[in-house]
């Protein structure tokens, strides 16, 4: 096929077919006699339903083991929790039906508003920073030729620490006189800070603990996603002269969208349920500055008198809050890449 330019005025080969197809309509097969089906419609329906049932049964068999534990140890407790929201007592005292009191209180109680504000403030502090640091470290790990193995293990170490140990370690770190934080700040001449004792610093210091604990997990998540990206894209971009930043902006970020989607959704769900470090380190103090929703649920359910219904209602308020946030995130992040 030599591709000399076609002489002017001649119609390109394609046009012939296009005109012809205008006339083509549905044409019938050859005129052989049309055979008809041997089974009646009802029989087919019956057989089809039987097959559907058989397939569903196999699927349910696959789900059965999980379903047993799921119902016994998660669904029934949640149903029992929901039952509690309409009653007072019900655990160590006979349940007294109180209608929507608990739900109303869960919306109106001002400590609930404080705890929601604290929890959201904590998430705004912890999630972006853990993602940014995680991403930076992942990018660095991807670029160094040697030694990424040991670094990976070191970063992952904090994630392996049980909450309790991490909180105890953190007590050492934020200790006023010989804590690592104040000692390092002292080097720069900054006076020792009252980390867990001041209302403005308590949430940032808990966020620091959670970032210190969580960054390993997110770094490895992002690194895994980076390594899974096809290398030839980067080679092409380098040949086209794209700078490292342009490559990051136009190749890495868009392709990492599914990972970000998983990361943001999971991080929101986990961080909105912050409880362990708050209950061990500050128990919501000082002056409820570090009080989170789950901390308040735990207190109301176990420590206060006859507040289990309120605590149950508050847990569902938290569930709805997380659900709404997750649905928003799904819509925001799920846009086609």
């Amino acid at each position: 096929m030599h591709d000399g330019a076609l002489p002017a005025g001649s119609a390109p080969p394609g046009t012939v077919i296009r005109m012809a197809t205008l006339l083509i309509e549905q044409s019938t097969a050859e005129a052989a006699p049309i055979p008809h089906m041997r089974l009646s419609r009802q029989e087919h329906e019956r057989l089809r339903r039987a097959r559907g049932r058989q397939r569903a049964l196999t699927a349910y068999l696959f789900l059965l083991p999980n379903a047993v534990f799921f119902t016994a140890f998660l669904i029934i407790p949640i149903i029992f929790l929901f039952y509690l929201t309409f009653h007072n007592g019900g655990i160590i005292t006979p349940a007294k039906f109180v209608g929507l009191d608990n739900w109303r209180r869960a919306w109106s109680d001002d400590l609930v508003r404080t705890t929601i504000r604290n929890t959201v403030y904590y998430c705004l502090l912890a999630i972006p920073s853990v993602f940014v640091i995680g991403m930076i470290l992942a990018l660095c790990l991807q670029r160094i030729p040697r030694g990424s193995g040991p670094f990976r293990s070191l970063f992952y170490l904090p994630t392996l620490t049980p909450y309790v140990t991490a909180a105890l370690i953190w007590l050492f770190i934020v200790q006023r006189d010989f804590g690592a934080l104040n000692v390092t700040l002292g080097l720069f001449g900054i006076p020792p800070q009252n980390w867990l004792g001041s209302t403005s610093l308590v949430m940032p210091s808990i966020a620091m603990l959670e970032v210190w604990r969580g960054v390993g997990f997110w770094t490895l998540l992002f690194l895994a996603a980076l390594l899974a990206l096809p290398p030839e894209l980067y080679q092409a971009a380098t040949i086209d002269g794209a700078s490292a930043w342009q490559q990051f902006r136009h190749i890495t970020l868009p392709l990492m969208r599914p990972t970000f989607f998983f990361a943001v959704v999971m991080a929101t769900i986990w961080n909105l349920q912050l409880f362990d470090s708050v209950s061990i380190l500050t128990d919501g103090g000082p002056s409820n500055a570090s009080a989170t929703v789950v901390w308040y649920i735990y207190k109301a359910m176990f420590q206060f008198n006859d507040k289990t219904g309120f605590a149950a209602a508050l847990s569902f308020v938290l569930l709805l809050f997380i659900l709404v946030l997750t649905l928003i995130e799904i819509r925001l992040l799920r846009k086609p890449a």
């Binding site: 047993v68 534990f69 119902t71 016994a72 029934i76 029992f80 039952y83 007592g89 019900g90 655990i91 160590i92 005292t93 006979p94 349940a95 400590l111 007590l171 050492f172 200790q175 006023r176 006189d177 009252n194 867990l196 004792g197 001041s198 209302t199 209950s279 061990i280 500050t282 128990d283 919501g284 103090g285 000082p286 002056s287 409820n288 735990y298 207190k299 359910m301 176990f302 420590q303 206060f304 008198n305 006859d306 507040k307």
Partner: protein, 459 residues
């Protein structure tokens, strides 16, 4: 199911071969898995939940004629000493030796989750004897979970013992004329001071009034030593250091008859006094600076604090287990004015019998045995806690504990037992903390605290 009494060792051996102890009978692993999955799905199981939801079904009361023997008493308490489990192994042998036919099963809850564990216990199948601290006693009595033991307590054979236990404990365990527990032991709270630092500053006698305390604290404060320190955050039970000052001024969380709040205005002066230690006199560290276990105590041990509010049982550690390098003294919180009343606060625990216990007689035998002088005193001495007996006192190795038991315990001011007491304290404390940080005055803090208490009294 025939009952097979196995020695302790056998039970442990079987236990380790993952054989499950299923209500004192033994079945092997395979049968257990069958039952667990069956229980997991069977309708009966769902019925079980319905029972738990409808009402805490009282366990079938054992008929009177059941032989006294063959009862197992489960006892649950919080750990008072790292070696508590060992102490209770020996106590178990002693009890079983003197009470043939009753086996004792001592267990522990953890202080941090005492409420969760006890609530869960009462919700299904609690221990027969439960050690309840006064903070939670009212809540569980109010919930009908604690047995009324007035009959046993007022019986003649117990009269002599009853008289020997401090009267304030009987007031605490008395609800509507009935008695729900026997005082066992507890902790009194007050002041420790570094005698060497005081001598160096020329203070020969520990200050008895608030003004004297301020002057002493100022004299003691240097760039490396804090003259006076007290706990200021709720997880450290800071309200125990605040309440004596409030009580000296005639205030308290509630009025004596527990019907109205008693903070506003009575507690304002005490709150301001303590706040000024931090804000005006600057003899105490800034609020929240030092956490109790990793801050105040190590600092005091290292001679960084002259006068420290803490719990007296710590005297056993600082005088015997791990002696500090200086002379140690104990004292009560100072009175408001010359010759005024000095208060010692205390938090005591009570042996109670669960309403759902099937072996209440055997449980009472154990309570009587444990709270008796010749059992409770040596045990208290071992763990360094104060007892509530007035006829005798434990021969503490620590002289200071001896002094606390004889001088301060009789003057202990008990806790005000209303079932919402814990929630009141949880909501009052943020206001006190704001006063300690100077964000509001004592008066403003107590005004809000008073509203909190009134609100909770109403519900």
């Amino acid at each position: 199911m025939g009952k097979r009494i196995l020695s302790f060792a056998d039970r442990r051996r079987l236990r380790d071969e993952a054989v499950v102890d299923f209500r004192h009978g033994f079945i092997n692993r395979r049968e257990f898995m069958l039952r667990a999955t069956a229980a997991g799905v069977s309708a009966a199981f769902a019925g079980r939940i319905a029972d738990a939801i409808s009402a805490p079904a009282p366990m079938p009361a054992p008929s009177r004629w059941a032989k006294q023997a063959d009862a197992t008493i489960t006892f649950i308490k919080g750990p008072h000493h790292p070696d508590d489990p060992k102490f209770w192994d020996t106590l178990k042998q002693e009890f079983e030796a003197s009470h043939p036919g009753i086996t004792l099963n001592p267990t522990f809850f953890k202080w941090e989750t005492m409420d969760a564990e006890l609530t869960a216990g009462y919700a299904s199948q609690p221990a027969d004897v439960v050690y309840l601290v006064d903070l939670v006693l009212a809540k569980f009595v109010n919930a009908g979970q604690v047995a009324d033991i007035s009959a046993d307590v007022n019986a003649e054979d117990f009269a002599q013992e009853k008289a020997a236990i401090a009267p304030f404990t009987w007031d605490v365990t008395d609800f509507g004329g009935k008695t729900y527990g026997v005082g066992a032991l507890g902790a009194a709270f007050g002041i420790f001071y570094n005698k060497d630092l005081l001598d160096k500053a020329g203070i020969t006698e520990f200050p008895q009034t608030r003004d004297a305390l301020v002057e002493a604290a100022k004299a003691l404060t240097t760039d490396r030593v804090w003259g006076f320190q007290f706990r200021d955050s709720f997880p450290n039970y800071a309200h125990w250091d605040w309440l004596p000052y409030v009580h000296d001024d005639g205030g308290d969380v509630m009025t004596a008859d527990l019907t109205a709040q008693n903070l506003d205005p009575k507690a304002a002066a005490a709150t301001q006094y303590l706040a000024d230690m931090k804000l005006v006199h600057k003899v105490s560290p800034e609020a929240g600076a030092y956490e109790w276990l990793t801050g105040n105590r190590p600092l005091f041990e290292a001679g960084g604090i002259a006068i420290l509010h803490d719990e007296f049982p710590q005297a056993a550690v600082w005088e015997v287990d791990k002696p500090v390098s200086f002379n140690l003294g104990v004292a009560q919180a100072p009175a408001t004015t010359e010759g005024g009343e000095q208060t010692t606060m205390g938090n005591f625990g009570y042996a109670t019998i669960s309403e759902k216990s099937p072996n209440k007689e055997a449980a009472w035998e154990f309570v009587k045995w444990w709270t008796s002088a010749d059992v409770i005193n040596p045990y208290a001495a071992e763990i360094g806690l104060q007892t509530v007996r007035t006829d005798s006192s434990p021969d503490f190795k620590s002289k200071l504990l001896q002094q606390v038991q004889t001088e301060f315990v009789p003057k202990v001011q008990g806790v005000q037992l209303a079932e919402n007491y814990y929630e009141m304290l949880t909501n009052i404390w943020p206001e006190v903390e704001r006063a300690y940080r100077g964000e509001q005055t004592g008066e403003e803090a107590m005004k809000k605290a008073g509203e909190v208490v009134t609100g909770l009294l109403g519900s």
